[in-house]
Amino acid sequence: MHTLKEWLKTITLYEILVGMKATLGHLINYKPVTLQYPHEKRTLPDNYRGMLALLRYDDGTEKCVGCDLCEAACPSRVIRVVSAEVPGEPTKRYSKEYYMDMTRCLFCGMCVDACPVDALGMTREFEWAVYDKRQLHLNKQQLLAIGDRSFPVREKRLELQHQNTAFFNVAFKHIPQKPI
């Protein structure tokens, strides 16, 4: 009896018909799961890690103090910092040159975590396809420009900032600090 049933299933192409029923069902209840990408974009998650950027304080001065910690934290050696003394102020340093080779970046966000003054930020930009990959070797001006256009209100990611670093963060002293 069992074999007869199997045999009947074989000659009536039962399995194939079941599969064809499934595909026809999808054709009739047509609900596409795809998005028409350049026209429709999916909403990004809140903690999306996109293009890196250098940030400024409210008054327009750069946050970066040239400490090289981001360079040390970076697993793919994306960042190169040339640190220098602020002319006329021997106690302060800044990054004279700051390069990021975004062809190597894997968007892990470790540089952002490492930064003591919250000078680095991850924007929500991801459409960085270019024809010449040398265009992905970004200098300080470009990184600051990305930061300016992505964070016009310069109060991002304060929650990540350690209280000990708030000393440097003159612009945000009016914001209540988190308890340690």
Binding site: L13, I16, G19, L24, L27, V33, T34, Q36
Partner: protein, 357 residues
Amino acid sequence: MAELGLRLTLTFIQIAVIVLIVIVTVLLLTLAERKVLGWMQDRMGPMEVGPYGSLQPFADAIKLFFKEDIVPAGANKLLFTVAPLLALIPAFIGFAVIPWGPDLTFEFDGLTMKPFIISDINIGILYILAFASIGAYGIILGGWASNSKYSLLGGLRSAAQIISYELNIGLAIIGVLIMAGSLSLVKITGAQSGWFWNWYVFAFPAPQIFALVVYVISAVAETNRVPFDLPEAESELVAGFFTEYSGLRFAFFYLAEYANMVLVSCVASAMFLGGWNAPYPGTILDLLGLSSLAWIENTMWFAFKTYSFLFLFFWLRATLPRLRYDQLMRFGWKVMLPIALANIVVTSIAVYLFPKG
């Protein structure tokens, strides 16, 4: 002389119209296939060119037309050029004997012609089979002339596959031929008029349902479609026999594949599903008193049957994975062939026991 010229002109007009219809159908098919496949796979298919991607075939045609035509180094230039034509021409030539509509005659300047039948030769179906086999040469030669291992393997696979499955197509058809007593597609279609149980799938002494199944499966295999698309298996052979082809020559292969699909669908609907006959006797337009327009209904029925087969091809492609090569051969020779042969025996006995009229 003038009469001959007129007759030639009329025939050429007929041929031009049929070729135009086939090419338009092929254009439609390329879009319809991608759309239907997309819908079945929860995608949208082409959406960019024109509203809902409706102009995609034209964009494809223009793109292929302006692509660089590359002949690979070491290729046999002559055969490399001839192969696409050898694939394309047999695919189109078979349409000459398909009855597209009722067997009407039409008077024009003292000449009688049949507007829906280009030529009613008495070996119609044999002619189609013969030219379909020549199409295999295009594929094999294209694969060999490309001087590429993928092309060669694709061509050889295609040769083996087409030989195996052509046999099954030929044998599956024989049941219908025994019942109709003719090789002419016009006579075969004409013999299926009346109610739909006169169609040879359901016809009285020996319903050809198994023959239809064998024919459809073998036709899918012969046109190199999924699940029998081993000659152009992407995951194994890049693109099979047309790996090295580009531009217009590639377009010719593409066109040939789709024209072959249309041809086997036309043959299937003409031989098994009554061709242009409606599933009821006569036509509705005839009953409404529009006898002169009845041919519209008949051609629409033919188109509907043909497009149903083409939809079945897309449907199978969306559903089934590709067969392994030994499975393909075993299925062809050990399953399809015995069924087709048994069908011939049963049909012959049935027709002998219940002779017509």
